[in-house]
């Protein structure tokens, strides 16, 4: 029973979902409220992690973080050590992996807002920031909650990406999904079962609380 791996997984999922929200809010805002020629390209890129195998994603993340990749070079020059095999590297790769799960619920909820409410806000003198904080966010909060829950759950179950860029370091990148995989490979099925069951129970409890307390959190693809 590996509580260290379990705690690491939860820490990773929580960190990723919060950081991703910060990234996804402006991205969703720009997709929902602006029309511009290259928009469909950005939407496709955001949706890519949905169709690309996680191992492919992880592999290219590994290359990007390496000494030949742009990200790796910048990181090395700033901090003096490589980005791969660190918790931060894992967070960044996981943010890419769960990106659509944060952006798409936000876009869906932004687009379902009555445009005239935003018009009214502008005419009453509110600039974009005020309209966003006082009108858009309060009315779109089910989308925000969905984005948080989905990216949390998705990151918790992440395996392929962590496998590629993690390096399996206990307490740092050995998440519970890697740990279970290792137990299976070492033929230690008992430990694998125990950890898996615990993960299942905790995830179920967390999700039940969120769905139960807030009836307006959507399942993965909300019908508009």
């Amino acid at each position: 029973m590996n509580t260290e791996a379990l705690l690491l997984s939860f820490r990773l999922a929580a960190t990723v979902s919060l950081f991703l929200l910060v990234l996804a809010l402006p991205l969703a805002y720009v997709i929902s409220f602006f029309q511009w020629r290259g928009k469909f390209l950005v939407e496709s890129v955001v949706a890519l992690p949905l169709v690309l195998p996680p191992t492919v994603l992880g592999f290219y993340a590994l290359l990007a973080m390496g000494p030949h990749g742009l990200l790796g070079k910048i990181w090395q020059s700033l901090f003096g050590h490589p980005l791969a095999f660190t918790f931060t590297g894992l967070v960044l790769a996981s943010m890419l992996y769960s990106l659509p799960f944060a952006v798409q619920p936000l876009v869906a909820s932004f687009e379902s807002l009555d445009r005239r409410l935003l018009d009214a806000s502008a005419i009453l003198g509110a600039d974009r920031a005020r309209t966003f904080l006082r009108i858009i966010l309060p009315l779109a909060w089910p989308g925000v909650l969905t984005a948080l829950v989905l990216s949390f759950a998705h990151t918790l179950g992440e395996f392929g990406v962590v496998l590629m860029v993690g390096g399996n370091l206990p307490g740092i990148t050995r998440t519970v999904s890697i740990d279970i995989y290792d137990r299976v490979q070492a033929l230690d099925y008992a430990a694998a079962h125990q950890t898996a069951l615990l993960l299942l129970l905790i995830s179920f409890v967390v999700l039940s609380i969120v769905y139960g307390v807030n009836r307006r959190v959507w399942s993965p693809w909300p019908a508009k």
């Binding site: 009555d114 005239r116 409410l117 018009d119 009214a120 806000s121 502008a122 005419i123 009453l124 003198g125 509110a126 600039d127 005020r130 006082r134 009108i135 309060p138 009315l139």
Partner: protein, 362 residues
């Protein structure tokens, strides 16, 4: 004075059309009247800065809102106008008071309170300040929308069909409050509607918009009682719009004769600009046609047509008759008349139509 001179092309929907308006709005009420799809809401959106015209200028006195030539477009936030949409767009998550104060955040708190209370008082909604929009009735919502718009002391007020769906007594009372406000603050108020009653109730000035073009400007009577286009005639409540062919001109009598429905019958209408043989349309209000159960004599009316009642339909305080006299006419009479003359389908009657009740329409 709000001066608007703009063009805007619409590519979407079934038929592309061009909004082409060159019109000035002095302080006071101006009704923007026309059928749906004529571009009224778009015109308001352009004035408000929510949509951009392709070319032209919009200015309020000295302040330029929009000038295509110098690529200038003031954002809606800075135009200091108020706009009440058809859907009202009250913020559902804020209370009535918070809604009203929304546009006042640049003022000191005490002044915000004073303005909000004044607006609430003017529109008689003080007792609703702590409620949410979902808890309000239709009429109460309209009042809140107006209070919210006017609390900001705008320089122009845009109203897009603000009173649709309300019964007439409610409409009247809100319009009274609006008039009272208007008397105290003379600013241009653009009132969009397609309802004839509201036009009369507001009264000052009418601008008609048909297919994106401003057709007429004038008083309600002048513009709507003598409509020059079919769309306007239909909007303005002319139940009969009949195809006709001009037979001859009689300048000495001040009339021309036209034949209706492939020469089924002929009537006389005021002399107009249409050559004999040309196809025209004649608009007649159903309420302007009289019904007689005996051939009338010694009347000034020039059109007396024998016919048969086809149907009788009671619609509350009015009865609609369909009478075939050559062609089929819609005629409105009172229930009392129906009783007194015993009007029923199959009865032989005479229709009396004054020449000046017939309008030549293009």
């Amino acid at each position: 004075m709000l001066n608007v001179k703009i063009r805007k092309l619409f590519r979407s929907d079934a038929q592309p059309f061009v909004l082409d308006a060159n019109v000035s709005f002095p302080p006071g009420f101006t009704v923007l009247f026309g059928p749906s799809g004529a571009g009224k809401s778009t015109l308001l959106d352009c004035i408000a800065g929510l949509q951009q015209p392709d070319s032209g200028e919009i200015c309020l006195g000295e302040r330029v809102f929009f000038d295509a030539a110098s690529n200038l477009s003031l954002p809606p936030q800075r135009r200091e106008l108020a706009y009440v949409f058809q859907s009202l767009a009250l913020f559902p998550h804020l209370s009535v008071e918070q809604n009203i104060r929304y546009g006042l955040d640049r003022l000191a708190a005490s002044e915000q309170t004073e303005r909000a209370n004044t607006a609430a008082r003017n529109f008689r909604i003080e007792h609703l300040l702590s409620r949410r929009p979902a808890e309000l009735s239709g009429g109460e919502k309209q009042r809140v929308a107006l209070a919210r718009a006017l609390a900001t002391s705008p320089r122009v007020l845009l109203l897009d069909e603000p009173l649709t769906g309300l019964d007439s007594s409610l409409r009247r009372s809100i319009l009274e409050d609006l008039h009272a406000w208007n008397d105290a603050n003379r600013i241009p108020i653009l009132y969009v509607t397609h309802n004839r009653e509201e036009v009369d109730a507001i009264g000052e000035r009418v601008v008609t918009l048909v297919n994106g073009r401003v057709q007429e400007t004038g008083t309600p009577r002048g513009v709507l009682d003598a409509p020059r286009s079919i769309e306007l005639a239909q909007s303005a409540g002319f139940e009969n719009v009949l195809p006709a062919v001009v037979v001859e001109h009689r300048p000495a009598d001040g009339i021309m004769r036209v034949s209706l429905d492939h020469a089924a019958c002929e009537i006389e209408i005021p002399l107009g600009e249409a050559e004999p043989g040309s196809e025209v349309r004649v608009a007649i209000r159903a309420g302007d046609i009289l019904v007689a159960t005996e051939p009338p004599h010694f009347l000034s009316a020039r059109n007396i047509l024998p016919g048969t009642i086809v149907s009788v339909e009671t619609r509350g305080a009015m009865v609609a008759l369909q009478v075939k006299a050559g062609t089929v006419f819609q005629v409105h009479v009172t229930p009392g008349a129906v009783r007194a003359l015993d009007l029923s389908p199959g009865l032989l009657v005479w229709l009396v139509i004054k020449t000046h009740s017939c309008h030549l329409v293009r």
